[in-house]
Structures are given as C-alpha cells and as structure tokens.
Symmetry: C2
Subunit: 219 residues, 2 copies
DNA sequence: ACCTGAACACCGTTCAAGT
DNA sequence: ACCTGAACACCGTTCAAGT
C-alpha cells in the first residue's frame, strides 16, 4: 500500500485529467529547473501537450504550479536527510546534508529562486514543508553536537539561513565551478564549527577572473 | 572642482534633457528600492513626469537603468569602505564593512536582486565596479589580518561571496528583524575569524515563527 | 467533467509624428 | 535635438464554446 501524499488531487477524476496533471508537473519540473522562475506557462503547457487553460485549471496560478514542484523537491531533500540520519551512525551529517542541498540547488534554478519568496510566507503547505525541514535539521544538529562537530547554541533556523545564503552564492555566480562552491562551503563550515575546532580552507581563493570566466556565447 | 564621474551623459545636451535624465535616475532609485526589480518602467516614467519613450532614449533597456542605479550604490559603498580604512586606525574594519553593506541591502530590494545577475557578467562598467570593490576588500582583509581579526588564506572573492550570501538571507526572509540579521552575521563571523578566535553568537536562535511572523495585511 | 482557442490586461520596447 | 502617444510582441490569466 503506497503512502498517498495529498497532492491536491480531487477524489474522482477522469483518466485523461489525471494524466494531464502528472505530465504538467513533470514538464514543469524540467522547464523550471532549466529556465528558472521566468519560464513561461505557455512553454510548459505546450511541452506538456495541453492548452494553457488546462494548466490553469490544475494550478490556478503560475505560483501554485511552482509551489507544487518545489514542495516535491523539499520532500525529497527531507527524505534524504532522514536516511542519512538513520544510516550515518557516528559520522558527521549536518554539513554533508547542507552540501547536498546546496549542490542540488546549483543545478535547479527555480528551486533556489523560490526559497524565501512570497509563497514561503503565505502558502500553508509550504509552511508545513518548512516545519518538516526545520524539525529534521533540529535532529541533525543535536546528532552532530553530541559528536562535537557543531557548536552549541546553533539553531535550525540559523542553519536554514546559512543554507539559503550558500544557495544564493551557488546560483547567482554561475561561473564558479563546483570546486569554488566546495571552497565556499568549507569557509562557511567555520561558522557552525565549535570554537577551537579548525577546518582548513579547501582549494585556493577564487579571483575576479573566476567570476567573469564564462563567455557570452555559453549563456 | 567636483569630481565628474562618467555617467554616460553626452557632452552637449539640452537643459531639459539633462534634467529629465537626472529625474529618471532619482525616481528609479526610489521605485527600485521600494518595489525591487519588477517595478515597471511605466511607473518610473510617470513618476518622473516623462513619456516612456524618453526613458528608453536615456536608458536603452530597463536593465541599463537598473545598472546605472546599482553602479551609484556600489560607488557609495566603496567610498564608505575607503573612508573606514583611512580613519579606522587599528580597529576592526572588514566585518563592520560587511555589516554596513548587508544592512543597506536589506532596505534596497533592487540592489540585492541585481547582484550576481546577468549584468554582473556582461556589462563592462559593472565589471569595473566589481574590480573596485574587490580591490577595496583586498586591502580591508590585509588590514584586519595584520591585527589578527581575520584568518589567513581568506580572499576578496571569498568575502564577496559571504556578503552575497548574507544579502540573500537579509532580503529573502523579510520577516526577520534587524536583530535576527545581526545574529546571522555574528554566526558568519566565525567563518572569517582566525582559528582559535571565538566570537559568541549574538541573541538567541530564531524560531520558525520568526520566519512567518508577518501578517498578510502588512505585505 | 474536462478541454480548448480566442480574448484581456499588462509589460518592455519601438516608431512615426510632433516641436 | 528631443519629446510623446500610439503601436507591437509577449506574458499570465479568464472565458465562451465545445465534446
């Protein structure tokens, strides 16, 4: 018996309607990942093979569609964090979890752009997802504090803010490669480390040329 | 004799044209600060008392107008950093400078939203502004390293990324008050501190309710 | 019960016509 | 030399008409 999540789907609907909704979600996930939030609903509807009005029948507003996609990603992230906590034993988990989230957001433009946007404050289901990830991070912090990886006094919202900041760095400076991101994260690690515990900086300091490396043709 | 900065203004132009350009820049700064990048050019033109086409005569594209405003803000920030370096003596400067920039961006939506956007990679004058702030931060780091406030190996671009991240936190979680921002910055401070130097966290950890505190009516 | 193309309001940008 | 309202292409959203 599969765990049925509430996806806002009405109880009884025609098979084609359900199929359309699934296609829309899948296509939207792809298009939003590639193009970010400014992807047009027209393109999504077209690639899903339905009329624009059908899209709006399923998701009353463009923001609702975005929210539905982002909610899936957050659930996946939380699930992965839970798995790390179950199987991780006495290994460090909080920082690797942060790395996982930030690395993923680096290749999913819409995911990051939406974090902290309007929907995060107003949409009820988004608030619940928020609460779930806060709850997970609380346990990750406690786990890593017990092992001496994380400083005392650090809260889950503190950590969420650090993650948010690193995501901004990851997506807004797209010229920086993965190594530059790893270096940045190794720097941020010092913020969550207990006093006296030093983590060396990874790699070398990026230069201004690293910021401007990508030729226009590759945009 | 005033220091005349190149603002892209043609040598000889009619008095009304120069006035229009100035009004547009001033109004755009206000509107962009309040509404962010999605402010409409129509509103800016209207509040400046000119036709929309006049706006586009002065700034061929909306992005050009945004860039002009942001360039002014960056120049101001660099000037303030220089002043801090001249008058600061042996006081810590790098972290207070970061605090200044992030605090300002908190109330200037467009300023932050544009950092790291397209223009930062393509616009030549933006690249120059970038180089100027990198050069300043280089000297701030050297100054603070000499006094033991900042860890070895930290580069100016490292620092710019930390600032960018904190700006994202500041603007994307608008419910958080200034104290929450100060706490976050006190946390980030651990990332730039030399090993062994501990800065206590300011305030208490924010809760999920702090994130969702603002009622819809106040948006 | 659901789908759709056409229509609407809005936006960034351009242009023909004015002075 | 500069200004402007009207026009254009595009977008999110709605609606009347279909099956």
């Amino acid at each position: 018996m599969a765990l049925e999540q509430d996806t806002g789907t009405p109880r009884h609907q025609r098979a084609d309607a359900a199929r359309n909704r699934q296609r829309l979600l899948a296509v939207a996930a792809d298009v939003l990942r590639e193009r970010g939030l400014e992807a047009s609903v027209g393109e999504i509807a077209e690639r899903a093979g339905v009329g624009r009005a059908t899209l709006f029948r399923n998701f009353p507003t463009k923001q609702d569609l975005i929210t539905a996609v982002v909610l899936e990603r957050i659930r996946e992230g939380v699930a992965e964090g839970e798995a790390m906590l179950e199987t991780g034993g006495d290994q460090e988990i909080l920082f690797p979890f942060m790395k996982l989230l930030v690395g993923r957001q680096r290749v999913d433009r819409a995911l990051f752009e939406s974090v902290g946007g309007e929907a995060f404050l107003t949409d009820e289901r988004m608030r619940q997802a928020h609460a779930a990830i806060i709850d997970l991070i609380d346990r990750l912090i406690a786990h890593d504090q017990r092992l001496g990886y994380v400083r005392e006094g650090l809260g889950a919202v503190d950590m969420l803010m650090l993650i948010k900041g690193a995501c901004a760095v990851a997506t807004s400076m797209p010229d920086l490669g993965p190594q530059a991101l790893d270096r940045h994260l190794s720097l941020v690690r010092g913020a969550i480390a207990p006093p006296g515990r030093d983590y060396p900086l990874e790699g070398t300091a990026p230069t201004i040329d690293d910021l401007h490396a990508r030729p226009v043709s590759e945009r």
